[in-house]
Symmetry: C2
Subunit: 105 residues, 2 copies
DNA sequence: AACATAGGTCGGAATATCCCGACGCGTCAA
DNA sequence: TTGACGCGTCGGGATATTCCGACCTATGTT
């Protein structure tokens, strides 16, 4: 069974889109499928990939399955990117903003 | 000619490794090929993918070609990840460290 | 000139990815 | 119970990825 790493999971735009959707809260498969031009089986298969990458968790609710975001594996990507941080200072600026907002809260 | 986006370029471990090498400075293809268990043609093809994703730039030098890292497209990945930042606060901690080092320099 | 070295590219094979229709199973509604 | 709905999965087709040996060209060496 190939395909378990986070980087590969993020390589597909549909899967990235699904994760974006899930940011706003748990969603049933049918809701997720709405808004994509691919069929429902394809969505199910993408969710399987995301599950193997531990990026989502499923919660059966009646005859539906609600998928929850688990963003923790994304920290692996973040850590990898950090090795390149000093090459573009955009990140430090963004972090400054975050910290400022944090202070004025 | 498919394959130009950054996320797909990062999906392959050999390509990620190449980018890591290039952090330390420009490298000729032969140097890059050393240390991988894949042959030189494969490396050339990976470099083509990285080139299409604009993650590397080539500089011919005699009969060699030195590849340079261009990390700017990585900011797209970083920006994407930022949409998930508030879900795991690991990032803020790391940023704090960076800022501390910055201060004591 | 003759040869070696560096590296791109071209078939082509093996495998992976992506998608679909069809089917099956469990759950809710009538 | 009968039917509809929600969802996973299987078989299979189309396309993409990854890798290799073989070949070519350009540059350097002797």
């Amino acid at each position: 069974m190939p395909q378990t790493d986070v980087f590969s999971a993020l390589a597909n735009p549909v899967r990235r889109n699904i994760l974006m959707q899930l940011r706003k809260g748990p969603r049933a498969v049918k809701e997720l499928a709405r808004g994509f031009d691919v069929g429902r089986p394809a969505i199910s298969e993408h969710l399987q990939v995301l599950r193997k990458a531990r990026l989502v968790r499923e919660e059966p609710r009646g005859r539906e399955r609600y998928y929850h975001l688990d963003p923790r594996p994304l920290s692996e990507v973040d850590a990898w990117l950090e090795a390149f941080t000093r090459y573009w200072d955009r990140r430090l600026a963004a972090l400054g903003e975050v910290l400022d907002k944090e202070k004025t809260r």
